[in-house]
């Protein structure tokens, strides 16, 4: 983008190569239009989902789609337990529990760990970092079965607390990598000053580390929340009726027949809403989180 700036000023001051310049301008506009079209193409399914959730079932099922059909809340009414008697609230609350609870646990475990890996590093701290990284690279599905057998053995199947623990293990490596990358950006002098004052570890973490990297902690928490909220496989295997999470509740729509599209779109919109809010809030740190702190 820095290269386009001089070209723009050149057309203003030097009129000589006017023909290639205007062609250049046209090309730029075309690229802008193309970028917009691609952006619109990618967001269309989401917009269609939200729009359809406010249509009546009859309008939702029309072909070609009637995007100007009158709006109604019937889809949401049907989802929140209309005639079918199904109630999504317990599953939404379970999801909130599992994701918020695991996120808090992750942060509580990850802050001291990140401290021990950057501010006052343990010996061979890089080895520890790569150990955490490799746990993320081994597919969770391979550990699924023993975890299922253990849960069944100790009577913790269909228990939201067990799922919370699993989600904590799932997100802990990501959080440690992210928080370490945030801590590594802090000038060491800040920590030096704190340790001279004779603060102990807990005081240092609470009074110095946490305020300095609070934006990083917030972004890390949001990303862990998103991954926990989205998770389906473990939730489906480990929960049944009582501890069912929102994604598991959604799988009830897999084999739906008849007129249900508005209700489905209302359901998916409701379940996606917390993730969309968390994602847009963490937008600037999203890359750092997704690349485990390798890209800033």
């Amino acid at each position: 983008m820095t290269t386009t700036a001089p070209a723009g000023t050149m057309t203003a001051t030097r009129p000589a190569p006017s023909k290639p310049a205007s062609k250049n301008q046209l090309g730029k506009s075309a690229l802008t239009v193309l970028t917009w079209l691609i952006g619109l193409l990618f967001i269309t399914p989401v917009l269609y989902m939200v729009l359809t959730s406010f249509h009546s079932e009859i309008d939702a099922a029309s072909n070609p789609p009637d995007i100007f059909a009158p709006l109604t809340l019937d889809g949401y009414r049907a989802f929140f337990g209309g005639e079918s008697g199904a109630n999504p609230w317990p599953s939404l609350i379970n999801s909130a529990w599992a994701s918020v609870g695991s996120t808090i646990l992750v942060i509580v475990l990850a802050i001291p760990a990140a401290y021990a890996l950057s501010v006052k590093p343990v010996r061979k701290w890089t080895d520890v970092m790569f150990f955490f990284l490799t746990t993320k690279m081994l597919p969770a599905v391979a550990g699924l079965m023993p975890i299922y057998l253990i849960a069944a053995g100790i009577g913790l199947l269909d228990n939201i607390w067990f799922l919370m623990i699993i989600y904590t293990a799932m997100n802990l490596p990501i959080a440690i990598w992210m928080l370490r990358s945030f801590l590594a950006d802090v000038p060491p002098a800040l920590f030096e000053a704190a340790s001279i004052d004779g603060a102990n570890l807990v005081q240092t973490l609470r009074r110095i580390i946490m305020p300095i990297i609070s934006p990083g902690i917030a972004a890390t928490a949001l990303i862990c929340f998103i991954f926990a909220w989205n998770e389906l496989l473990f939730a489906k295997v480990l929960t049944g009726v009582v501890a069912q999470t929102a994604p598991v509740y959604l799988t009830g729509f897999v084999t739906s027949q008849g007129l249900f599209l508005a209700q489905l779109c209302a359901a998916t919109t409701v379940v996606c809403l917390p993730v969309l809010i968390a994602g847009f809030a963490a937008q600037d740190k999203l890359v750092q989180g997704l690349s485990l702190g390798a890209v800033k």
Partner: protein, 317 residues
């Protein structure tokens, strides 16, 4: 900032840190231990258990046969045509989704890395698909987009044909005709934003002075792309591709939702889920799990190398 760097400790302080007494070393380890122990218990022990069970006969329907099985579960994995197909589907799905979203992601990142009206808004629109809960995305594509009767795709076809006065628009049963393609398109829709974000960050870390110098030297945009942008982006392309592959290999939601593994779309995660729940064959499910792990280690070895080179670059600053 300038004051903090001024009072930064001299480098002589650093070797001092490495010569710690055993007690000091343990004090340093204490904050790390809870997270480390927690992670080992919950991620390493299950893998060990998986490995052990994979050599066992263990089927919940036949508890009398429980015992050592040798390699028979592995023989089953590599001789059962359905399982071999699952291995193949997993590879095909991962490679297709990662390559297509990587190429699309690079193009979109290049387009977004310009100054234009509404850049922030388009960037936000591009990110949104990644923020849709995967099972919700799969349901949305299955019912609202691919459905042959009222789906958006056929709806748009009817609408376009209607413009030209035709009322017998072709209506495609997308999932039945292109089962794997339907799943892949859904995954590509979700993963392209991921690639775009990482690659855009890579493009923005390009040193601007070098590009300006090249522009002054009269390099054309294509030369600048192949000689400067691509070499710089190689590391980011690898990182995005490997991280994407690690996640896409584990795809379960889309397969379960869109086809339920029918029409030849069952990948390994879905097959393991089925072996576990429909067949209740714990030994076989474990052997399948071990195969997935071995495949992932292959990808992970490259990924670790790549991430560490990015870290090294970071430290070198």
């Amino acid at each position: 900032m300038s004051t903090t760097t001024a009072i930064a400790p001299p480098p002589a302080h650093v070797p001092n840190q490495l010569e710690l007494t055993p007690k000091q070393a343990w004090i340093r380890r204490i904050p790390l231990l809870p997270a480390l122990v927690f992670t080992i218990i919950l991620t390493q022990l299950p893998f060990v258990a998986t490995l052990v069970i994979s050599f066992m006969n263990w089927n919940a329907y036949r508890p009398d046969l429980k015992g050592f099985a040798g390699l028979s579960n592995y023989v089953k994995v590599f001789t059962d045509p359905d399982l071999l197909r699952a291995v193949w589907v997993t590879i095909l799905m991962t490679v297709t989704v990662v390559l297509v979203s990587l190429v699309l992601g690079l193009c979109i990142a290049l387009l977004l890395n310009r100054v234009f009206l509404g850049r922030g808004l388009v960037r936000t629109m591009m990110i949104t698909p990644f923020l849709i809960v995967p099972v919700a995305a799969a349901l949305l594509f299955k019912h609202a987009i691919y459905n042959p009767i009222f789906g958006l795709l056929n709806g748009v076809i009817t609408w376009v044909w209607g413009i030209f006065g035709s009322d017998n628009a072709p209506q495609v049963d997308w999932i039945t005709q292109f089962p794997l393609g339907s799943i892949e398109v859904t995954l590509i829709w979700q993963w392209t934003p991921f690639m775009t974000l990482i690659l855009l960050a890579g493009l923005q870390s390009r040193p601007a002075e070098v590009l300006e110098a090249a522009a002054v030297d009269g390099a054309n945009p294509w030369q600048m792309f192949t000689h400067m942008t691509l070499p710089h982006m190689r590391q980011y392309l690898e990182l995005a591709g490997l991280l994407g592959a690690i996640y896409v290999v584990q795809t379960f939601d889309a397969v379960y939702t869109i086809t339920s593994g029918a029409l030849g779309t069952a990948n390994l995660p879905f097959t393991i889920y089925q072996t576990l729940f429909t067949a209740q064959d714990y030994g076989l499910a474990s052997a399948q799990g071990v195969i997935v792990v071995l495949g992932s280690i292959l990808i992970a070895t490259f990924a670790v190398k790549n991430v560490s080179s990015l870290l090294a670059k970071d430290d070198g600053k």
